[in-house]
Symmetry: C2
Subunit: 136 residues, 2 copies
DNA sequence: TTTCATACTTGTAACGATTACAAAATTGTA
DNA sequence: TACAATTTTGTAATCGTTACAAGTATGAAA
């Protein structure tokens, strides 16, 4: 059981109830939700929650390195709890975003052609195993 | 000198004046412009050009494989003439998007963890050579 | 405990990129 | 030339996101 309150404090973020709930959601579901998905999910137990708070919170988390911000295709920003670099695969049929466990040469914190790399993202697009199987 | 009219026909796209001009722009500048950048640039010589036409044309080009659609960070779709897979680096200071010539193992058209890969994108973010030099 | 400044949350309005849509213009073909 | 099909245009609508101002909670100092 992770103490999200502590985790936030360690990152210099005062742990409000809203912030804890949003971080909890990201950890528990461990998917790649948009701000709106999180908002809709927390609406039930927090009826007064504001969408603005969700947006602000996610942006603040990402800036402090608590979570990762993804911008993969289709003009929707997504967030995830897993901050270790990994490959993303988006299925063009079912729109599910898969984590690919295959390792790769990460250029993060390296210098390439004179440029200093701070982030490294690999995005794949195609048809997932499930959709291929059900196509037959 | 490329015959853009022919090029479009070969891809099954009837070559209207607007389409030829947009393709010409992408080829001549060879950067990673947004639809709006192209629209603004062509406004002078084509005063009646509609922004909708630019959006529609770029989308059609990308679908037919004439150009590539990029969705790298910051929620802005960009397009480019160069359809060969390569790495992109965006500088967080000057916002320029660089092409990285370094080669990499491309997973396009391969199968990974059961998924069929149709597109492969690598996006880097950091501080470019120019901005680092001028920081001193 | 009260006071007060600060930080956080909320709700609404505004924004910006993109898309939908219908009318006007153009095109290719008979 | 006639005409149907396609393309372009301009405007309105949409959607994700952000700005902003007012309300609320928090936590330290008195
Ligand atoms: Mn992931
Ligand atoms: Mn490029
Ligand atoms: Zn799928
Ligand atoms: Zn730069």
């Amino acid at each position: 059981m992770i103490d999200f309150k502590e985790l936030l404090k360690e990152h210099g973020i005062p742990p409000s109830l809203q912030r804890i709930k949003i971080l909890e959601y990201l950890h528990d579901f461990n998917t790649h939700p948009t701000a709106d998905v999180i908002y809709q999910a927390l609406m039930n137990e927090m009826p007064t929650l504001s969408k603005t708070t969700v947006y602000n919170t996610l942006k603040a988390f990402a800036e402090k390195g608590v979570i990762v911000e993804l911008s993969l295709f289709e003009n929707e920003v997504r967030y995830e709890y897993n901050t270790t670099p990994h490959i993303h695969f988006k299925c063009i049929k079912c729109n599910i975003i898969y984590d690919i466990s295959e390792s790769f040469e990460c250029l993060k914190n390296k210098e390439i052609e004179g440029h200093k790399v701070l982030e490294h993202h690999i995005y794949l697009k195609g048809i997932c195993k499930n959709c291929r199987d059900s196509e037959e």
